[in-house]
Symmetry: C2
Subunit: 136 residues, 2 copies
């Protein structure tokens, strides 16, 4: 029995060579950005179609800032420009994984740290608490 049209579309999306990003209702994809050399997760951000186009054409990471509602070329103010080494897409094409080389001081977080994920959640007496990682 042949797959139904919707099953066929899912198979094409997952196994095909066509890049057909599935933007959310508000026009965004989630992007996980990792250090190309170490694989460390640096940050999670979002891209609209324009940020994606500019990232692919310039090989410099562009994001859509949800808080400021504007296109954002990472590093314009901080110097932490991210050069795109490789962009991957996930099975259902609604998330991206960017492998980057970070310029400037090598950081990605606006707090000055290399990664935005510098705290872990621990059990506290009154519920979960945050604790700094030994090395960030």
């Amino acid at each position: 029995m042949s797959p139904t049209p919707s099953a066929r579309a899912a198979i094409d999306r997952e196994e095909g060579a066509e890049f057909a990003p599935r933007f959310s209702a508000d026009g965004l994809l989630t992007c996980v950005t990792v250090d190309a050399r170490s694989g460390e997760v640096l940050m999670v951000a979002h891209m609209n179609a324009e940020a994606l186009d500019k990232t692919l054409s310039s090989r410099i990471m562009h994001y859509w800032s949800r808080s400021r509602q504007c296109l954002w070329r990472k590093g314009d103010t901080s110097g932490q420009v991210q050069r795109l080494e490789e962009l991957r897409v996930d099975c259902d094409q609604d998330a991206l994984l960017a492998r980057v080389t970070v310029g400037g001081d090598g950081g990605a977080c606006h707090t000055g740290r290399r990664s935005c994920f510098y705290r872990r959640i621990e059990r506290g007496e009154n519920g979960p608490r945050l604790a700094p990682l030994a090395k960030t």
Copy 2:
């Protein structure tokens, strides 16, 4: 000059020990799940408050399925149960990074692959195209 109340709140959120997750308008956090040993990014999914609570209490990854609109204990049907080793939160507390040990066949993707990010975006003659990674 002391910081304004909103600046003070941002500093507390970024530097404090209080876990105060910032759920999106539809009640979700983005969760990046990585292999605790290799650091490889396995998948990106979402958690609502219940999925987060169950993950922290059971140390087994639970997500909220946006497509099926239901709580989802990863591995219930596939056997690819993810044991939580460490949960991190990002600077503004709207994204999580879960370091997990994967059970079953060691995969995380419903297509059978270890990671959902098994294709990279390449330049094609008529725009971006997808190509399999050499090793997935």
